[in-house]
Symmetry: C2
Subunit: 110 residues, 2 copies
């Protein structure tokens, strides 16, 4: 697993963000290894621009991944290994989650 930088080094807008907010169930149940695999795999996908991810001790997490366009997001969503991870996420790893796809219009950094 390659650890992403704390702040994603994204280009000038416009680009897309996928905001994934999730509450983990108790216990690992294979989650950690798959999460690392998905971080690595997503970063090789066409149109990937970076990601930021935080999970607290209570299992609440927010991951925001950044993409060149909607086609890149759709392509990653349909990746075979990612589809398997999504299915396991629904059945086992997450109490609840939300996914929001948003077009980043402006951004600044300190």
């Amino acid at each position: 697993m390659t650890l992403p930088a704390l702040l994603a080094n994204t280009p000038e807008p416009p680009y897309y963000a996928v905001i994934f907010t999730s509450q983990r169930t108790a216990g690992d149940q294979g989650y950690g290894a798959m999460a690392n695999l998905m971080v690595d795999l997503s970063s090789t996908m066409p149109g990937y621009l970076g990601a930021e991810s935080v999970r607290d001790a209570n299992g609440l997490g927010i991951t925001v991944s950044y993409w060149k366009d909607e086609a890149s997001i759709r392509h990653w969503k349909q990746n075979q290994e990612h589809l398997q991870a999504q299915a396991k996420g629904r059945s086992t790893w997450y109490e609840c989650f939300s996914v929001r796809v948003a077009k980043v219009e402006r951004a600044y950094t300190m």
Copy 2:
């Protein structure tokens, strides 16, 4: 401080998201009290739709707040108490941060 729900109960898109990713400096230095105040105050602002917020033990945090439109975001950004908090954030509380304003186009929840 009113604790927000884990997942923000936002309406059907379109609406706006402000993605705030930040790395805290060491020590509280008044941060906790001000953060609670800003959570409470922002939730009273016109156009506020909800927020999701996570910070891990290393001080990396992501807060996503949701707003009806860009005018609501601008109004909150110019709030006098929020301006004071922003200044203290730059000078004292954050090693680094990024702000991204994005238009949510689609969303789903499990």
